[in-house]
Symmetry: C2
Amino acid sequence: MTRPLNLEEVGRRAGVSRSTVSRVVNGGPNVSSETKRRVEAVIAETGYRPHAAARSLASNSTGVIGLVIPSAVATLFDDPYFGRLILGISSATNEVDMTLALFLFGAGPDESSIISRVVAPGLVDGVIVTATTRGDPLIDHMQGTSMPFVVVGRPDNAGSTFCVDVDNRAGARTAALHLAGLGRRRPALIAAPSNTTAGVDRRSGFLEGLAEAGLSIEDRIAEGDWSQESGRDAMARLLAERPDAVFVASDRMAVGALRAIREAGLHCPGDISVVSFDGIVPPDLTAPRLTSVVQPVTEVGERAVRLLTAVIAGASTPEHVVFPTELAVRESCGATPTAGA
Amino acid sequence: MTRPLNLEEVGRRAGVSRSTVSRVVNGGPNVSSETKRRVEAVIAETGYRPHAAARSLASNSTGVIGLVIPSAVATLFDDPYFGRLILGISSATNEVDMTLALFLFGAGPDESSIISRVVAPGLVDGVIVTATTRGDPLIDHMQGTSMPFVVVGRPDNAGSTFCVDVDNRAGARTAALHLAGLGRRRPALIAAPSNTTAGVDRRSGFLEGLAEAGLSIEDRIAEGDWSQESGRDAMARLLAERPDAVFVASDRMAVGALRAIREAGLHCPGDISVVSFDGIVPPDLTAPRLTSVVQPVTEVGERAVRLLTAVIAGASTPEHVVFPTELAVRESCGATPTAGA
DNA sequence: TTTAGGCTTGGGAGCGCTCCCAAAGGAGGG
DNA sequence: CCCTCCTTTGGGAGCGCTCCCAAGCCTAAA
């Protein structure tokens, strides 16, 4: 009968007590180097690993943070955005030696059971919530619990939450000014869903930039749902208004828009300039290469983790981190000569 | 001073004992309906949630399964494959009311610390390991522990492990026969890395199919690294051999290959037929639409979870689940008229 | 009436750890 | 030489739960 391998047993083999082994495992002070050496030898020899659940229970901290992505996941996951975000978050959690738990809500009645797992005590120390829509009840719900959380994006009631966002508004404004500076006079907009704050911000930022440049958009606005298909449809519709430029609120929709332009027998950037938002689709994937407003997704993820650890540690005055964007000028806007095509 | 909300406290408020509340929470038998009603009322009123860590410690099961994706993650994540896989796994874990923990190994010396978290007792009940390369030490390491695990893919030493894979070999063979059936006589291959079993299987399956059809491939083989860029380079090199057909071992590499064909002034499928493997890139993204061997990624993920739960429950004779693939004939092979282009 | 057996309930023990305090030993200053 | 203080070590208590067993109660059969 092999007895269970726990602190007590390791201690027994090393001729010390449970407490001393615990101090060695946790790098605590007040352990003589001789004792430490002996205990570490036993640990190496036995392959002892502390029991995570026992540790969580005793220390009231799990070392796990949750990432919550609600609703419509299936379509969202075709977007490289989430992959990048997860990457950033994951690399940050690894760095602070924490574990990442992923909560994806599909459509369906299972939501409430997932929610209750998310906020259950003793599973995660805190939560990063992303892809929320305007008025998302999830945010209110989280605020009703004592679970520390950070929002990626800008919730409506941002005042009372910690959040990390990119400056969608300024980025879109830059796109407008860039197009105007290129001499375009009939700008169009393929907006992102207006039930998301990112969608709203990118739209208003673009309109603001146009106004500054003395341009108006008239009826040249269509709204997509982030999907490539919706971008293609929106562009096809907009072409009837004969725009000479279009700002597309996401890379994926822009890929669809380029396709619509091509299918209409028009040429980008010759007939129409395209600027998109995200900077996530590899430039070489499209012809012409997309000019886009690049957002630092990975950094957003890393920062969200750091912010969350601060909240877990007790930070209480809501902090809003806003990352700047950067305009990457490539071929689709027409500012530089088009290669190949 | 508000006392902590635990089983004892809920019991106190409902006028019953800790044990009885526990039975109610766990849907156990032997509770009178009156008592049950009263306890549930208190739970609803107080918003009580069982403490996950305490539960794990006492029951020796955490309700969490880990997904391990080692090495080179940054590039891998541009591939929709992993998004789909995670989706399938996540939906299956939700269904069985478990939580998904994600372990992404970046390059770097942090690997060992992540590994030790993965196999630490009391964190996860079992692990799904994916994206392993041939001779991956991770598999050996897992076998050295008592942590239940399932491999997505076919490890070298598959005999002794539970795994879920797709029939890469048969799928690639089908592609070869399809191309041969189209009358192509100078087939080429853009293979996936030969340090992966998927890469090896797809290569040998394709060659097997060619042999059956009486075709030989001669020097028309190049190897990519899954990336689009590598597909483009490989195709550019292969064009010197004047192939009239090419099988590309992944969708992403195929997108690159199409680009190389276009850049060389050639036409697909007119000058060269293309068949790819995966069926993951949305068909409309490319022109012409890719004919590909479709693998059921989401199902693989779901099945991996189900298999893992069986292993956790005590299954001990290694089981190998192999999913069939399906050839989706679209435009790039030339079997059907090309739309648009 | 007695006894057996079912249903319901309560409470002890224990999961493996951390936290805290007390005890033991050694060094250094008065 | 004694007292103080610091370092090192051990062990009790407790985290919130599950598991198990015993006790109480009630019903039904003998």
